[in-house]
């Protein structure tokens, strides 16, 4: 099956600094792909390139068979930024309904998305009055409501309590089972094991593109945290 996202020799500069160095990778359709790496490794930049808001220096990003950012992709790709991008001076429901309207969905779809992220009871509250974790979920709901084919989530589980994290991951897998492709970034290694496919990024370079099982086998450890550190260390020795 064709990759949902194909990145080839992607180079991104931010000012004089090169933040992505010839990154090539692919994202399988209908799976949860984790993009893991420490803060500042270029995860958000790579995700921004996939949704087509990042100015790129060279290389190509193909999404669902089209160049990233193409107009016809905008109804098919959902994006949740790292810091919650919702309107604090609207209620949770009003936010969800606005993004539903932009995607051509109705109010019922907005309410369903809020239930999916566990915000059904807080629907009438102003987003500005919510906790950080709730705001993040409101932001997520505003992407889910469009029912996109590709869902790009930048650190969606930061600041969430463990129970909620488990629920959200279950929801991500349910979406994948229904055919949605998900790309989820995280700097928390214990989330790596929940992904079907893993992309490890460090200092703007792709260290590994494998399944968790392959990574464990290659590095000879069951601990994914250790497994991630091992290619990092190997690179350190090589350099």
């Amino acid at each position: 099956m064709d990759a949902a996202v194909a990145v080839s020799d992607l180079v991104v500069h931010r000012g004089a600094r090169r933040v992505l160095h010839q990154v090539s990778c692919s994202v399988p359709p209908g799976r949860v792909t984790g993009l893991l790496g420490p803060s500042g490794s270029g995860k958000s930049t790579l995700l921004r390139a996939v949704v087509g808001v990042q100015r790129v220096h060279s290389g190509t990003v193909t999404v669902l068979g089209r160049p990233a950012g193409a107009a016809e992709l905008r109804a098919r790709v959902g994006y949740v930024t790292q810091s919650p991008s919702v309107y604090p001076d609207l209620t949770v429901r009003e936010n969800a309904r606005y993004f539903a309207a932009l995607a051509g969905r109705d109010a019922a779809a907005a309410d369903a998305a809020l239930t999916d992220v566990g915000l059904g009871a807080a629907a009438g509250q102003l987003v500005g009055g919510l906790s950080g974790g709730q705001r993040g979920r409101a932001s997520l709901a505003c992407a889910l409501v469009a029912r996109p084919e590709l869902l790009v989530l930048d650190e969606p589980t930061v600041g969430l309590d463990p129970l909620l994290r488990v629920e959200l991951w279950a929801h991500f897998h349910a979406l994948a089972a229904a055919g949605t492709t998900l790309v989820v970034s995280s700097h928390v290694m214990d989330e790596a094991g929940r992904c079907d496919q893993l992309l490890l990024l460090r200092d703007g370079r792709l260290l590994s593109d494998s399944t968790p099982a392959q990574l464990r086998a290659r590095t000879g450890t069951d601990d994914l945290e250790e497994a991630f550190l091992s290619p990092v260390r190997a690179e350190g020795v090589a350099a």
């Binding site: 000012g15 808001v53 905008r74 991008s85 309207a101 932009l102 469009a146």
Partner: protein, 255 residues
């Protein structure tokens, strides 16, 4: 974001902006009450100053002009801050990844604040003509119309200015830059035919000049004049031009 317009997405955006406004009670109260209060201050200022016979009272002249200046200034400020918030909060970047087009977004803002300005103008015109005896020869509906077109001009310039502001501090300071020269040269402080030639030429290309002239036409004639309609057309055209330029400054891809 595409460039194709969608009335459905434009109205969804206008509705969203109005809902944000509705949650901000103090801003709504200030929008509706402040122009009337300030106009009242102007009324009191000239209340005891004698008017030379055969000339319109100073308050009639100044007050009428201010009916066009208030919505322009207020909507410029409100919009430039609102758009800057969209940029800094990440919601703009998010909107850029949805089917909403850039013009849909800008027209949504224009529609929402234009409606708010219509309400503001209704209140101000009613208070001015009843409580302050402001003398307007023409139909008051035309005064409201000019105020709304003025407000849309303020919205369009505010959207454009926000593209050049990186912070709220900068955005607020664009207000005097954009508003004051237009106010100085619009013919209120010094009649335009008494201005130096080059200042007159500058005044000729500033849209607020035409808004003020339109109001003066309504103030002096009992019916809409051709000059007034041309003036309204110029202000509306300037607003559309500014909206187009604002759309061009909205970059989808940033570094």
């Amino acid at each position: 974001m595409t460039t194709a317009l969608s009335p459905r997405l434009t109205s969804a955006t206008a509705g969203r902006v109005l809902r944000q406004l509705r949650h901000d009670h103090r801003t709504v109260a200030m929008l509706l009450v402040l122009p009337s209060a300030l106009l009242g201050l102007l009324y009191l200022l000239w209340a005891d100053v004698p008017t030379p016979p055969g000339q319109p009272g100073t308050f009639d002249r100044v007050g009428l002009t201010m009916l066009g200046v208030f919505p322009f200034v207020v909507m410029f400020l409100v919009t430039s801050i609102a758009m800057l918030r969209e940029r800094t909060s990440g919601t703009l970047e998010r909107l850029l990844t949805t089917p909403l087009s850039r013009l849909d977004l800008l027209l949504g803002y224009g529609t929402a604040f234009g409606l708010a300005a219509a309400l503001q103008a209704l209140v101000t015109v009613t208070v001015a003509t009843t409580a302050y005896d402001l003398d307007v020869a023409g139909p008051l509906a035309l005064v409201v119309l000019i105020a709304v077109v003025d407000a849309v001009l303020g919205v369009a310039l505010g959207l454009l200015a926000s593209a050049f502001a990186r912070s709220e501090f900068q955005a607020v300071q664009f207000m005097p830059v954009v508003v004051l020269p237009q106010f100085f040269l619009c013919g209120l402080l010094v009649p335009r035919d008494q201005l130096a030639g080059w200042l007159q030429a500058v005044s000729d290309v500033l849209p607020l000049t035409y808004a003020v002239e339109a109001l003066q036409e309504v103030g002096a004639s009992s019916e809409a004049t051709g000059t007034m309609w041309v003036d309204v057309g110029v202000v509306a055209g300037a607003a559309l031009l500014a909206l187009g330029l604002a759309a061009a400054t909205l970059r989808r891809r940033t570094s």
